[in-house]
Every structure is written in C-alpha cells, then in structure tokens.
C-alpha cells in the first residue's frame, strides 16, 4: 500500500463517495434524526442537567429548561416509555453502522486520505485562505478533496461526537456502569454523562444545520445526487 502522502489523483477512487460512505451517510442521518427527536421526548421527563454522579434538586442543576414541544419530539405526545423503546431500537443501527464505517474507512483509506488533516494543512495561512473561500461561497477548489474546514468539522463529528453519543448513552445504564466502571470515570459520573449526551446531541444538530446550509449553497442537487450515486471524483 502506498503511504498516503504520496497518493496522487490516479490512485484515488473514481467515485467521489464510496458505497460504504454513502450507505453509512443515509443510515446515520435517519438514525440521528429519530434518536434526536426521541431523545428530546426522554429529556422532557426531567428537563434539568447536572454535573457529577447524582442530581435531582433544581438548585443543583446547571441547566433548567421547559419541556420541548411536541412538533420536535417522537412520539409527538409525551411518552417516556415509548420514546425510550424507539431510542434503544435506533441506537442499534446507529452504533453498528458507525462501527462498520469507521473500520471500513480505515481499510479503504478514506479516513487517512480524506479526513485526517495533513501537517501542512494546520498552517494558519492555509486555514485563513479556506475561511476566506468559504465566506465568498467559493467551493470550487481542491479538486474534489475535502477542504480544511470540512476536515476540521468531519473529524470531530466522526471521532468524538458520534462515538461520544454512544459512550455517554451507555454510561446512563446502571447495568453497563457495573460492567464497565471506567465508563463512569470517563465522563465523571452518570449525571455528567447525561449532560454530555445532551451537549453532544445539540452540537451534532448544529453541525447538521450547517451541513444542510452548505449543501444548499454548493449545488444541492449535485451534492445529494452524488451522495446517492457516488458521483465522479473529477466532476468536482
């Protein structure tokens, strides 16, 4: 296998998006939307967040919210029981698909070739140039490769936020805490894990919104078509 730094355009796959990437992208999108909306229904059972192991009193909460409205929850009426069942059902395809995508992307080279930043890309001048291009809504550069800002957002989403959702979710399970006590230590307590689960979920939602906006600004029909058919790398 060639080291990634010497990869040339001829080594790269013809398709803009590998089949694995496309399958995962859409499964992940569907799972995340439902997990988010059922998660808000679950949150409504106790719309306060704490740090540490325990917490109930309002005075101890770092965040106190009203219940989220029905139009943004699944089911659209409050049902902790049903929302939990949905949440745990969708958590399976979400976690399995993410695991397969991460392993597959390591094997097919997508992760190291396209997502991890190269050393020269960390230069402030490179990043500044990319920010200027984004502000001008100029997405024409890079010959179909991800630009620096894309890598800086996709990387944390794939390696921190999505795995973090799974781990912080598992930490809320008393059975898992007995099985894997390190989970509790990783987040600093069950209530901290619940807080991180919430923070990660809304950070992912912010990413989702930004992602949709950028797709709309950069030729939505081609973008969506390529994420379905795979597209052609040189077409970018």
């Amino acid at each position: 296998m060639q080291p990634m730094s010497s990869a040339t355009s001829s080594d790269r796959p013809q398709k803009r998006h590998a089949l694995l990437t496309r399958l995962w992208h859409w499964i992940n999108a569907a799972c995340l939307i439902i997990l988010f909306m059922t998660g808000l229904n679950i949150f409504n059972a106790h719309p306060r967040l704490y740090w540490g192991h325990a917490g109930f009193a309002k005075a101890d909460a770092w965040l106190v919210l009203d219940k989220f409205p029905g139009w943004i929850t699944i089911p659209s009426h409050y049902s902790l029981a049903d929302a939990r069942l949905w949440h745990f059902l969708l958590a399976w395809p979400f976690a399995v698909a993410l695991t397969l995508f991460l392993i597959g992307s390591l094997i097919n080279g997508h992760m190291l070739r396209d997502i991890v930043l190269r050393r020269h890309e960390w230069r402030p001048s490179m990043i500044a140039a990319d920010i200027r291009a984004h502000l001008k809504l100029d997405f024409s550069q890079h010959g179909g490769q991800f630009n620096i800002l894309q890598k800086l957002s996709y990387g944390p989403v794939i390696f921190i936020l999505l795995p973090g959702m799974i781990l912080s979710g598992l930490t809320m399970s008393p059975q898992m805490d007995a099985a894997w006590p390190w989970l509790v230590d990783l987040f600093g307590g069950r209530q901290s894990a619940r807080s991180w689960h919430f923070i990660f979920a809304w950070t992912l939602t912010a990413f989702f919104v930004l992602h949709i906006v950028l797709v709309l600004l950069s030729g939505p029909i081609r973008q969506v078509r390529d994420m379905i058919t795979g597209g052609r790398r040189d077409a970018a």
Partner: protein, 256 residues
C-alpha cells in the same frame, strides 16, 4: 451566484420542509401504534438484556460510594404514602406487626417480621439510585441480602422469577415488581429497612423495600409485604412483570 445554485425558491423550500416534517411526525405516530412495530420494540428489550448481560459479569457490582457522596435529600418517587387505614395502623405501631410472607415455589414458606429481617446477616451499601426519568440520588442502604431469605425458604428448582407484592396502590392498582434469579441472587440485592442510618422513611418505602442496584428505580419495589417465587409472570397482574410494565409500557428489563 448563490441564486443560481438554489434552483428552488426559498418559500418552496421552507414550505416543503414544513410539510415533510409534518408528514414525518404523523407517520412516526402511526408507526408507533402499529402492532408489528410494537413487537419489534418488545424484541429490542431482549437484545439489550442479552447484550448487557453478556458484557457484564453476573456478579459485577454496582459502584459503591463514600459517605461524603450521599445526596442531601433522597428523592422519593411514585407512591409517597400508601395512605390506607391498615398501612397507617402499621406506621402508628412502628411496624411491630408487619410481616413479609415468602411463598410460592418454595419448600418452606416464611413469615418474617421486621425484627426477623434485622436479625439476619446484614449488608450495608452506598449506591446510586437511577430513576427512569433521568435523575440520580446517592443513599446508604442496609438490609438482608435477598439470597439469604430465598435460601432459608428453600427455592424450588422450577422457580424462575421473584415477585414483590407491595402494600400500596398506584393509580388504583396494586404495585408489584419482579426480577429474575440472576438479580435475585446478586450480592447487592437486599431487602432494605434502613436509609442513611435511620429507619426507612414512609416516602421511601417503609418498612422494607427492595434494592436491585443494576436496574432503574421502578424495579425497586417499596412497602414489600409478600415475596413470591414463580415459574412464569403470566398469572400475575396483567402478566408483564410489574405495575409499570403492565400499565405504563416500561420495559421489564430496566438495566438501561
């Protein structure tokens, strides 16, 4: 330039998004009530139980905390006072005549007084209580390991579940819960009569409640007055193994 990239108008985009979201929501509610989907949701409980049980040592202990970690107030949820004349008479008498009957598939049915329970070997543990709603509280519990009671009663080989019948009615129905033998024989599963060094208060389940530390709060039956060993849960309540399982749609396995 931006305009050219957006082949549909902003209004069309927003209204189609709104219609899509509306369809999705009503679709989800319809899916939620379809029998096939309900069966699938029921199956997931089995996957979670099998996966979590296979990842954990059967005897893996829930974390035990220090006295400094104890929550200033231990939140009481569900029934806070059974409120019946019979229960009030027990409160007034200091639960001197309270009996916990151990029966069902046992060789030797027992009738335990509070004094009997306190005279048996004790276990004390400072653990985190996790409510299905999301909050947690830490408290110190003392009581007799359920295992010792079941061994004293001589559990029948056909027994698969232990059912806890409670003195309270919740929304007019008797509260009860059930666990399987893995949790029943777990060292931290105790019949607790003390919270934070004092007699169990009425809101927390006086005189005796179950602690089953690797499951959520609704499994921890309060006001326990009968412990029944059974081969199956079908004949009890509405057959799903507990008040909330029967009437609230909660999963019987509450390890998650």
């Amino acid at each position: 330039m931006t305009k050219a990239l957006l082949p549909i108008s902003r209004r069309a985009l927003l209204s189609s998004a709104a219609i899509g979201a509306g369809l999705m929501l009503s679709g989800c509610d319809r899916v939620n009530s379809s029998p096939a989907f309900r069966r699938l949701l029921g199956d997931v409980e089995g996957w979670n139980k099998a996966t979590q049980r296979s990842l954990a040592d059967r005897m893996a202990l829930a974390r035990e905390f220090d006295a400094a970690d104890i929550s200033p107030e231990f939140r009481a949820n569900g029934t806070r006072d059974p409120g019946t004349p019979a229960y009030q008479a027990h409160v007034d008498a200091g639960f001197a005549d309270w009996r916990i009957n151990v029966d069902g598939l046992v060789a030797k049915p027992l009738s335990l007084s509070l004094a009997d329970i306190k005279a048996l070997p004790q276990r004390s543990q400072i653990t985190r209580h996790d409510c299905v709603e999301g909050w947690s509280a830490i408290g110190q519990w003392q009581g007799v390991p359920l295992k010792l009671v079941l061994e004293a009663a001589g559990l029948d080989a056909k027994a698969r579940f232990i059912v806890f019948h409670c003195a309270d009615l919740y929304n007019g129905h008797p509260y009860y819960e059930s666990i399987d033998l893995i949790d029943a024989f777990h060292p931290q599963t105790i019949l607790a009569h003390s919270l934070n060094g004092a007699d169990l208060p009425v809101p927390n389940g006086a005189p005796v409640r179950l602690r089953v530390e690797r499951q959520l709060g609704y499994k921890h039956a309060k006001y326990v007055e009968r412990i029944e060993a059974v081969a199956a849960l079908d004949g009890i309540g509405l057959g799903k193994g507990g008040y909330w399982e029967d009437r609230g749609g909660y999963a019987w396995y509450a390890g998650i």
